[in-house]
Amino acid sequence: MPQLSDKAEEILEHLWISTQEQDTRPTADALPEEELAVLEREGLVVTEAGTIQLTPGGLEEARACIRRHRLAERLLSDVLDSSDEQLHAAGCKFEHGLHHGLQEQVCTMLGHPERCPHGKPIPSGECCRRKDSTPGQVLVPLSEMESGQEGVIAYLHSDRTEDLRKLMAIGALPGTRLRLRQRFPSYLLRLGNSEFAVDAELAGQVYVRRTGGAE
């Protein structure tokens, strides 16, 4: 398959979001004709009764685009500490650089994140299923840190608001420095000048950018 243009990839992402996440029926209105024609020629989309549909091949390609886009956002926000506006501006350009296996490495380095910084799901890749890990991994869930390691909380991820609030209550918020003092039988962490114990379930919801301190 030839390399798609940035614009064509953005159309695929738009179609993915409308059909897979918002359950709407996208039309050709306001979409650039030229790129749409390319996508149609490649067999990625079909037009049916005025609405545009992704073909199975298109669905796969769109999923990959979305994955790269959201991984790029995570990379920018977690590793480069970008602001919200920078995310929007740079994220769209950055993603196109993540082709050819690079995305797997980025995903692994980021600890296989499940959500983008805005909380939308990141489609999983092969590396997530294999649970790859690398010594250079920058982001890890607290539950996978070694005892004695230090880091800064990058973000919290939980499907349960009540769990999120428990973590917020103890002050485990993005930007807070932390040191894991003990892993077993419970996770004992120093946040600022206080210590808290959490269980494995809560520890798995805190993503930490490691800064060192291993014993």
């Binding site: 917020m168 000048n193 206080s194 269980d199």
Partner: protein
Amino acid sequence: MIAKMLQNLTGARCCGPEQKTTEQATGTIALVGQPNVGKSVLFANLTGTYVAVSNYPGTTVEVARGTAELAGRRFQVVDTPGMYSLLPLSEEERVARDILVDEQPDVIVQVGDARNLERTLTLTFQLMETGFPLVLALNMMDEARAAGLSLDTDRLSEALGMPVVPTVSVTREGMDELREAIGQQQGRPAPVEAVRYAPREGVDIEEAVQEVEGLLEGDYRLSPRCLALLLLQGDEQVHERVQRTDTTSYPRIAEVVDEVTGAAQRPLDYTLTVQRRHRAQALSAEVTHAAGERRDTLRDRLSDLMTRPLTGLPILAVVLYFAFYQFVGVFGADVVVHWIEDDVFDLITPPFASFVETVLPWQVWQELVIGDYGLWTLGLRYAVGIILPIVTFFFLVFALFEDVGYLPRLALLLDRTFKKIGLSGRAVIPMVLGFGCDTMATMVTRTLNTKRERLISIILLSVAVPCSAQLGVIMALLSGVPGALLLWAGVMLAVYLGVGAVAARVLPGRAEPFYVEVPPLRLPRLRNVLAKTFARVKWYFVEILPLFLIASVLIWLGQLTGIFGLIIGALEHPVRWIGLPAETAAVFLLGFFRRDYGAAGLYDIHQTVGLSGRQLVVSAVALTLFLPCIAHFLVTARERGWRTGLAIGAMVLAISFSIAFALNQVLTHLGALA
């Protein structure tokens, strides 16, 4: 904190004089802050009334009130439950928030932890939004200094636009300055726009806040900005209130809220808290000077010894042996109880008995007062002479551990194990307390977060946790038979874990995620320990003593009417079934009225009839597992309803006899302990 709760539970009916003093007050000061920041001690300093303080976070349910003279005015001071955020997560936080909203304090004093300025300021910004006059007391300055932190409070005060007073509540440092600041701050509302929130996911939060603010017309006491933010975060209580007050503009308000929250993936309170935290981090960095990296101190290493399984479990064993077995069991239950029984009651009882005999010449009535199970003999003598010293010693040890900070460490050590029986580490407190008094422990299960966890704890307390009174007699009973005590303990532990594991599987829901603050280890403060012990002993007296008196009357009625004979007759079957002589049936019935009396009665039977080692162990197991005492049963029914109470009772009865039956069969076949 439990002491505080219990104190208030029992104090609820006798607050007449307190009411009077608060009526004379002309203003209100609310103390607000995160748990474990020394708020209660600061409250005591301001008001002169002592309230129990504890290390275990999150269990303050009730509210303490006192009065203080400040700047020539008399204030009511309210000590609100610990709060992390204005958006309540727990019942305690809801109470704290309601106090701010409903009582409209003249001044809010936020008590913050000087060692954790970021965390403290995150809440400060939110409290500023309420628009009430605010003073920040940066407490535990001594510990901050010890940790090598120096804080520029003047600069902080200037940046916040409100007074910041460094304090050390335990030594009363900074109290005069705090009083002065509170006096001066009256009528000076805090700047409400403490943090300007940045847009997220393309939604302009500030714009939405402004629109909602404009739509609010009613008088809400809280600032419109604070209300608007709470509305946007979906606070149901606030929504209800606004819907009732601003009936015409509410539909538009609801629309704005939907626009802001509808598209977003994460709750708005997360976004807002993160932004407040960022602001707090920046400000904290500006005013804090840290002298080098923090090093682990001796205190940290001691703490590590307690929390690591390899050293923590042996420490736990030593603690159990010396503090509970030697101090409570041997010294409290044996030495002191005998002294009270022999030297005190044996002196008073004969003259009292002859006095009763002259005043009440009817034998039936004499039975009620000085009979074997009479009001004096069972009610007062038993409750005061036997149980009281045992529980007092137990509560003393418990308060000591609480003050040192051992309990959260124990919680983190045991959470993983507790998860297997459907509990979380937080259940450590009621479970340990159960070895003192199951009845009190059952009441303390209230502090657990979910219904499921409360129910499992109550079941386990009912079935397999022997109270201190019972433990004393069982130890005496079994100590003559080698290996019997160990076998009994093994069976108890197996039943405890087995019942827990089954309950965890059968009851719907998931194990509650566990989190707890682990405060620094502290040397116990005698005043705290004694105050807490006193509060609990007082609770015991007020709550439990009447139940013993009721039990006396019930036994008297049971004997008078012959109902007891019938029940004992019915109990003889299962008793024979587990291989015990029929005489022991009465022991089981009485065991229900005074938990250890059963064991004591067994002791008597053993003296006269002579029980085999096997029979001793089987009966000890059956009795420990048997229905808890009547006080415990009544409290369970009150906490969880009569249906659940009776169901637990029936279950306990079935478990106790079937385990005893199985044990008897096994021992008989093995020919062990014959």
